[in-house]
């Protein structure tokens, strides 16, 4: 290939000039794109200028006045975004790495890796690393009245302690419930025909948002006074069994568990899918050996299969625990944290948006961060064990 291009200087020239050109074009496309997109009324402006270019002056005026084809404007914006985001980024990568290709091999080897990783590292720095440090600092400096630990000391009050207690209940019951049910169902469906179909029913809720699930369950928990027809299924069954209708979402302490049930309903499918895959990895010989020793099927599951898939169970539990710790949507939508159901993430949002207390919100976020630190260390340590992060 090298000999060929030396023979043909014209093609060689094009090859040498095209990459820098692509880089410049990429940069310009991204810059213009960002300028257009970095605006609340980007969508209407964009389509309006297209209309003007096409001679549709009235359409442009309508758009700028907030009427006309607003939806079309948004779609155009989305298309431009994908174009800028994808085509622009690709041109940048192509262009820059080809420019680097013009350097001596030694410098190429030094610079090229950075071309590949710098965009990712830059975004992570701006959106995760810098903010993490900033949030921790804010928690010691904003609205503290001179005492850097003010926000952390405030956590030691009944209101916040009950909130932390709720987080612990969520952590234990939410994680435990999802993992145990997931394990149980994985063990059961492993032994029936149409296993895939059965699993579909269980993990379908995984595609549903927390807020969608909250509407589903608000309706399940709907309460009507005694004597009226109960339109919520839970109270309909409850009264049919002879009970008084219960306000599941308002009554303490049962309401926290009613909310946790929504989470378990959503997450059991995840635990089941992962654990079912793990169960299928258990070798038949081990199970046969246990069976020959006279173990019952239940004993085999409890004392042979579960210990073997312990690693998967821990992974699933950790993953779900991290989601549970950050649980926000269900509480925000179902109760807004009232009636003793508040948790860290919801409180953080409320402090930030309703009380404008950045310092307190930052302290609550930092508590969440500290709670996930052990998992962070374990993940990085596992990485080093595999010999990667050294």
């Amino acid at each position: 290939m090298a000999i060929e291009s030396r023979d043909n200087t014209e093609i060689d020239l094009v090859r040498r000039l095209a990459p820098p050109l692509a880089a410049v074009v990429g940069l310009v496309v991204v810059a213009i794109g960002v300028m257009i997109l970095a605006d609340r009324s980007a969508a209407t402006n964009l389509l309006a200028s297209i209309y003007e270019a096409l001679g549709n002056g009235q359409g442009a005026i309508d758009l700028r006045n907030g009427v006309g084809d607003q939806l079309l404007a948004k779609l155009v914006l989305g298309v431009v975004a994908v174009f800028v985001g994808v085509a622009g980024i690709w041109m940048l990568y192509i262009g820059v790495s080809s420019i680097v290709g013009l350097l001596s091999p030694k410098w190429q080897a030094r610079i090229l890796p950075w071309v590949f990783v710098v965009p990712a590292i830059a975004l992570l720095t701006v959106f995760l690393i810098y903010p993490t440090i900033g949030t921790i600092i804010t928690s010691f400096t904003a609205q503290t009245n001179g005492d850097p630990l003010a926000h952390y000391k405030a956590l030691n009050s009944p209101a916040y302690l009950s909130l932390l207690q709720n987080n612990v209940i969520w952590l234990v019951v939410g994680t435990g419930g999802s993992v145990l049910l997931g394990l149980l169902i994985a063990g059961l469906v492993d032994r029936v025909r149409r296993e895939a179909l059965a699993k579909t029913f269980i993990f379908l809720p995984l595609a549903i948002s927390f807020i969608g699930a909250s509407v589903i369950w608000r309706f399940m928990y709907e309460w009507k006074p005694d004597g009226q027809p109960q339109i919520g299924l839970v109270n309909a069954v409850w009264t049919a069994l002879g009970g008084e209708p219960i306000r599941w979402v308002q009554t303490q302490p049962i309401n926290t568990y009613a909310l946790i049930l929504i989470f378990v309903w959503l997450q059991t499918g995840f635990a089941m899918v992962v654990l079912s895959a793990a169960i299928k990895g258990v070798s038949v010989e081990v199970i046969e050996a246990a069976r020959l020793d006279g173990a019952s099927e239940r004993q085999i599951f409890m004392w042979v299969i579960v210990p073997i898939i312990k690693g998967s169970i821990i992974t699933v539990a950790t993953t779900i625990a991290i989601v549970v710790l950050k649980i926000f949507d269900i509480i925000y939508v179902m109760t807004g944290g009232r009636n003793g159901t508040d948790v860290l993430a919801n409180r953080m949002f409320v402090e930030f948006y309703e009380f404008f207390n950045d310092g307190r919100a930052a302290a609550l976020a930092t508590v969440l961060f500290i709670a996930v630190l052990p998992v962070m260390f374990i993940n990085v340590r596992n990485l080093r064990r595999q010999g990667i992060g050294s």
Binding site: L71, G85, L123, L206, A207, F219, D358
Partner: protein, 285 residues
Amino acid sequence: MAAWRPAFIRSAPLRIAVVAICALWSIPTIGLLVTSVRNPADISTSGWWEALLNPFEQGQWTLGNYQAVIASEGFITAFINSLVVTIPSTVIPITIAAFAAYAFAWINFPLRGLLFAVVVGLLVVPLQMAFIPVLRLFGQVGLNGTFLGIWLAHTAFGLPLAIFLLYNFISQLPRDLFESAAIDGASHFQVFIRLVLPLSVPAIGAFAIFQFLWVWNDLLVALVFLGTGEDQRVLPSALNVLIGNRGGQWHLLTAGAFLTMVVPLAVFLLLQRAFVRGILAGSVK
């Protein structure tokens, strides 16, 4: 496996238990769906299961609830907004992560191990840690409430998982592949485009589904970075507003909720295998 199954296949209690569990898990969603097509007057006077007992009764089914939600509650705008937010927020992180994952897996450079450890560490950082400083930053550069702002946020928040998943896949590609490409004189860039990307399609697809569902279903990031302005609402925000304004009007709530679920459920049913792969692979987020 085959050896330990037969004893159970004909076990009736087991099959009944599995069928019961499946029914139990589906009932809440079915209740929502059924209610969303019932007459508003019927919804508040009888349980949705009673409608299923006489499914052919005249005039109890209606699509009016959906018409009402679409006409007056801004769900069309929200649907478009959701598309405009979700598609770039899925595509852009894939591109950036694929380049980075390839470099982490197959190019030697200083600080590689450390930087990758940082990426893995960031996997579990709660998004709550990012909101306050990022909002201040956005305020300074005028990105609050813009689509560009939320694309950047979702892209960055999705990157650790994207890099991690793609790294796991790309680093397992056979070494010979890269050695023979190097002998042929291919540059890293050519190797990436011609070999790595095409071979990584399964991993990319798995992440794409995961990220798509995550962004589509997200309420928190949308509330924080897009706000609740009528023009800016995505589907979860629109549903949230609907709950606030029409708390007891189940015909609107159920129809609205189902509209937010249509796309994820379609993705789920059409791409179930890739979905499961994404779930299995994404089990660290």
